[in-house]
Symmetry: C2
Subunit: 282 residues, 2 copies
């Protein structure tokens, strides 16, 4: 897209002026786009954010399959079969699947039974967000009932500045290490109570009331900690018309990095959510 001469000019300018915190690749990406845009005709819509100028795409999505953990147990896992029609020419599968399996979105309508918004009408602008990753993995390693507090968010803000408008605020608890062992992932005790981390209700209220977020995401099976009986994070976030994402992975790879998260939720009719592809553009 950029001629070698332009790229060299931009590289030199950016090496002189560029901040040490930005990667060379990002510098070239942004600077290259600007300079190339300046050098070409006005009618030439250069893809400034084109793949050749982008950094790594980080996949925050688990594989979805028949053995994926489900908070309500294996009876709620999806099933699949190979389609027979035209099978000598094409390969395809038929799925039986509910809207809350593997890495998936909770839309407002999942908990807000009267008027909560569905997948098919939700504003697509809200599906693209800067990522904020709150890391409680050290605490969660000691205590399965650990949860995100207002202090955790404030500690993040003291290092990085205020949670930016439109953010997707993600809890990284490290719980994804149990993904391949559904029993350990849901972690029910002998009385049936689950034990895994989540957002505390006060942290959720702080984000919704004091900040201007798009949604929250967790690397566990529920927005609220497993032992919560009142699930305030669900009601607070979904009640505000925002969304949650459960069972994300790989947040360590974007922690403390610049990343834009795109939530590829199916646009199916009257959906209460759905298994989604969550990609972080870095």
């Amino acid at each position: 897209m950029c001629t070698p001469r332009i790229m060299e000019t931009v590289r030199k300018r950016l090496e002189k002026e560029g901040p040490p915190s930005m990667s060379r690749r990002r510098l070239l990406k942004l600077g290259g786009g600007l300079a190339a845009g300046a050098a070409v005709a006005a009618s030439h819509p250069l893809p400034l954010l084109g793949q050749d100028m982008m950094g790594e795409v980080v996949d925050l999505t688990h594989v979805l399959g028949e053995s994926s953990p489900h908070i309500f147990g294996p009876d709620f896992a999806p099933s699949r079969e190979k389609m027979e029609f035209l099978s000598e020419i094409i390969y395809w599968q038929q799925w039986s699947i509910n809207e809350h399996v593997s890495t998936h979105v909770d839309m407002p309508s999942h908990f807000i039974l009267d008027g909560g918004e569905h997948t098919d009408t939700y504003d697509a602008n809200l599906l693209v967000s800067p990522a904020v990753v709150i890391d409680i993995s050290a605490r969660a390693a000691e205590d399965a009932d650990a949860f995100v507090t207002v202090e955790d968010i404030q500690a993040w803000e003291s290092r990085h500045g205020e949670v930016p408008p439109g953010a997707l605020v993600c809890m990284h608890s490290g719980w994804e290490t149990y993904w391949d062992n559904p029993q350990a992932f849901i972690n029910r005790d002998e009385t049936g109570v689950a034990h895994f981390p989540g957002f505390g209700g006060e942290a959720a209220a702080f984000l919704v009331e004091e900040r201007d977020i798009h949604g929250v995401a967790v690397d566990v099976a529920s927005l609220d900690p497993g032992n919560s009986t009142t699930v305030p994070t669900h009601y607070t976030v979904l009640g505000a018309g925002l969304y949650g994402i459960e069972n994300v992975r790989n947040l360590a790879a974007i922690k403390d990095r610049v990343a834009t998260v795109v939530v590829g939720i199916p646009r199916w009719e009257e959906g209460s959510g759905g298994p989604c592809r969550v990609l972080a553009l870095t």
Copy 2:
């Protein structure tokens, strides 16, 4: 994210140096990110691509429902039912759905039965691409069998420059106007042959062999024109390990604009493709 002082400095610099083809908003977005990055501490990961600095998100996805058109007829449409479990507290649905409904991806394994790649292992970097929109809507309005030719691509390149590396090359035929009328959308004649536009085999071969694309997308039910019996575009694109997207919409909104397309395909087990959210970041 950026202080008013920084933004003002950047704005002035960009107004002086910025290319006339770039929108003010994009200038501020890119320039603001650079300048803000330069002005803050090295440990401060500013979301350069944050929502507050982004343009519009254009949704290229149709609603997926029981009455969505399907190339093989309504027997292949999805079905859904409301889940009864916990229905006094939560709302959710169970779907029966095949991998090729509504706006969806064809992965290599859909046609390449021996070793074609599935959704669960496909490189996520290939799901983010600069958009190239080839507009054949004028011709398609006169001829349902119109198809994208090598000359159409060359005409685009004469205006915009070579198809950029990693592009998603999209056919805009205008056929989405028939979406709500499945019979008109598939448009079978009395002999059963479908008539809608698509990529010609030579254009597909040109893109795969002479350019470095990620995939192709069409606003109709098949990558190849409806009357094709040999479906060369499917075999050429999928055979090269690339992908196709069928039944996209809204391409007119990103035609001749800078847009990065993110393909939110489900990461389900051994998927041959899947209904996906396709979002264009402008």
